[in-house]
């Protein structure tokens, strides 16, 4: 007795094939399914549908009878899963999986994904999922997170310093936005938490661009100076093709130092808006640094020889920047004025000392992170000293 299904008045123009497919799923190729129903075009629809789906309609049967074909099963024969479970982050993701979600059953034959990084240990950090959750929970709206009405009155010659520093920050944030954006487009989406984190990082930088630009233009109609040396320094970050080296140079060394700078600016902010924007940006940057450090440490744990490549990357960048001026004079002086809060000689002296302390704090922070990654302390000190004078 063949299996029978009753579609009642349901036609194939109204989803009838779902019920038929469901009934056929339980049969083996060659087995028969009798289809009953009252839809006037059932016979015509069924014949056309069977033909298209690779089933056969038995022309000699009294009631419409499908002889099950095998095409639907053939399509999935040998199909691999992109990871055994959704939590299975495999050591090497197949480009043949294309854009399939982790743990999905992947029909063979799709286009291979053109991505560069398919090895877990080259992009991963175990903390990535938590950092991403933290990043999404801590997104803030520049329109409401900053009290833009609290502009206050900043002396004109201190405001000049704010504008110059904001000009510098915007330039740096533009590089910091472009780098994760470039990295994530070359990453296999199997490592989606890293991709999500990089996307959140790019979104963070987009907000930073907005708030620093807005603060810079609060009392002016244009920004300050852009030094060639600073831009050359940032450009070397953009040109680093390797995922880990780019992450190391940008986040561990660059954004790590930048974090100290943002804390410094927050401390010495001449108005509430400057204090707000640097505080909010610093919160995000801390997350970026955390991933960079965790990822680089992950790579070094898997391959201690990678320390050599990190060292070479720092030395190469130092050599590339040897003939540039580094931090432009105007930025450095602006930081002194901000720390001083006025142009009184005694205040300037105080500000000067504060900026020196800032540089020392940056240096010790870099050394700490380098040691965490696996460098011996003397080597960490030497590498930290080679870091760009441009902070980022």
């Amino acid at each position: 007795m063949p299996t029978t299904i009753d579609l009642e008045s349901l036609g194939f123009d109204n989803g009838g094939h779902l019920l038929v497919d469901r009934a056929l799923a339980g049969l083996d190729p060659g087995e028969r399914l009798v289809v009953r129903g009252r839809h006037p075009a059932l016979g015509v629809h069924l014949a056309a549908w069977c033909r298209a789906e690779g089933h056969r309609l038995d022309p000699d049967a009294a009631a419409p009878t499908i002889v099950r074909g095998s095409a639907d099963r053939d399509r999935w024969r040998g199909a691999p899963r992109a990871g055994r479970t959704a939590a299975d982050v495999v050591p090497r993701a197949s480009r043949e999986w294309g854009l399939a979600a982790r743990s999905a059953l992947v029909e063979p034959g799709g286009p291979a994904l053109s991505v560069d990084w398919v090895d877990r240990d080259l992009v991963w950090a175990d903390i990535a999922p938590q950092l991403y959750a933290q990043a999404t929970a801590n997104q803030w709206d520049p329109a409401t997170a900053v009290d833009w009405t609290a502009a206050g009155s900043v002396p004109d010659d201190v405001e000049d310093a704010v504008v110059q520093v904001m000009t510098f920050l915007v330039e740096n944030e533009q590089a910091a936005l472009m780098i994760p954006a470039r990295l994530l487009s070359r990453l296999h989406p199997h490592y989606r938490e890293v991709m999500q984190l990089l996307a959140a990082q790019a979104a963070d930088e987009a907000r930073h661009l907005e708030v620093f630009t807005r603060r810079g233009l609060m009392h002016r109609d244009r920004l300050g100076l852009s030094g060639a040396g600073g831009r050359a320094s940032l450009q070397t970050l953009l040109e680093e093709p390797d995922f880990t080296l780019a992450s190391f140079l940008l986040s561990v060394l660059g954004e790590g130092s930048f974090l100290d700078l943002l804390h410094f600016l927050h401390r010495h902010a001449p108005d509430r808006v400057t204090a707000d924007v640097t505080r909010l940006a610093a919160r995000d940057e801390a997350r970026h640094v955390a991933f960079g450090v965790a990822h680089t440490a992950h790579v070094v744990r898997a391959d201690p020889g990678f320390l050599h490549r990190l060292r070479t990357a720092v030395e190469r960048r130092h050599a590339a920047l040897a003939d540039t001026a580094g931090l432009n004079k105007q930025v450095f002086d602006a930081l002194v004025v901000l720390a001083a809060g006025s142009w009184e000689p005694a205040a300037i002296a105080r500000g000067w000392q504060d900026v020196l302390r800032l540089q020392q704090a940056m240096d010790s922070g870099r050394r700490r992170r380098l040691e965490y990654i696996g460098f011996p302390d003397d080597e960490a000190a030497a590498l930290s000293a080679l870091h760009t004078r441009n902070f980022m």
Binding site: D13, V44, H45, A48, R51, A71, E107
Partner: protein, 284 residues
């Protein structure tokens, strides 16, 4: 180097390039040198097949009828090496609006009947033959013909879609469609559910086939046919091509289900017995 087998196909859609380029590579990987030539319509393809300029023609059923007639007139022999599983046992239908007071083909006398293109076997020639068989001559009805893609022998679905739209809009009382189009239009909303009713249905007939020219190297064509029939839907290098070409499996060609179309061609004088073009208003 082995001899090249040259196949003709009609470019009814840009995807045809993808399809035959894919087949060409697939055959090359199996040591058979296949190349293809694209035609803008079936008539030149058939003429070139008979003239030996191509070895194989991926022919519409109407092109097969003409090729056979041309071959017979010249004392040549044609055969077919394969067809798709989806080329077997198709039917065409004449549909009317669900609420229309039309219950048999005879009721269409004096009514407007929408068809596909002049050269569409499925949406014009066969359904009109069905009407003729029921005693309704083309002169008994007002024909509203949608000549989309003339020369493509109905491969372009636009004419059928226009006919269905005309029926729904009340500009026609009946529309002629292939069964697969009735299903498609029902599912994509062109013909909303329960808006139309099947008034008549043809007997099953076959559609395209891979026709072999009289000058083709028999052994080479047989090898081609064996490889073609070995294509498996489970093979992910072949499946995208099969999906694009609309089949799950190649089957041996058969030529015994073209009689109804041959009769329709004769009755309308679409082609003359020697295969020359007979329909006055056919301009491929």
């Amino acid at each position: 180097m082995s001899r090249t087998l040259l196949l003709g196909a009609v470019a009814y859609d840009p995807k045809v390039v993808t399809i035959w380029t894919g087949f060409r590579s697939w055959f090359a990987e199996r040591g058979l040198d296949l190349d293809y030539v694209l035609y803008s319509h079936y008539e030149r393809q058939v003429e070139d097949l008979l003239a030996g300029r191509i070895d194989l023609a991926w022919n519409s059923p109407l092109a097969w009828i003409r090729a056979e007639r041309l071959a017979r007139a010249r004392g040549l022999e044609l055969r077919t090496v394969a067809m798709r599983d989806t080329d077997r046992d198709l039917t065409s239908v004449i549909v009317v609006r669900a609420e229309a007071d039309l219950h048999s083909p005879a009721d269409l006398r004096g009514r407007t009947v929408a068809t596909g293109a002049i050269d569409s076997p499925q949406a014009t020639l066969l359904p009109l033959a069905l009407l003729r068989g029921a005693g309704v001559a083309p002169t008994d009805v007002d024909l509203l013909r949608f000549d989309v893609g003339v020369g493509l022998h109905g491969d372009h679905i636009g004419g059928e879609r226009d006919a269905a739209a005309a029926l729904l809009a009340g500009r026609a009382d009946a529309a002629c469609l292939i069964d697969a189009s009735l299903l498609l239009f029902g599912r994509d909303g062109t013909l909303p559910s329960a808006s139309v009713r099947v008034l008549a249905q043809t007997e099953p007939y076959d559609h395209c086939n891979m026709s072999v020219g009289p000058a083709a190297d028999r052994a080479l064509v047989d090898h081609f046919g064996e490889l073609l029939l070995s294509m498996s839907y489970a093979d992910d290098s072949a499946r995208p091509l099969l999906d694009l070409e609309g089949l799950k499996e190649w089957l041996p060609g058969r030529t015994d289900r073209y009689a109804a179309l041959d009769g329709a061609v004769t009755d309308t004088g679409f082609y003359l017995p020697d295969g020359t073009l007979g329909a006055d208003d056919y301009r491929p």
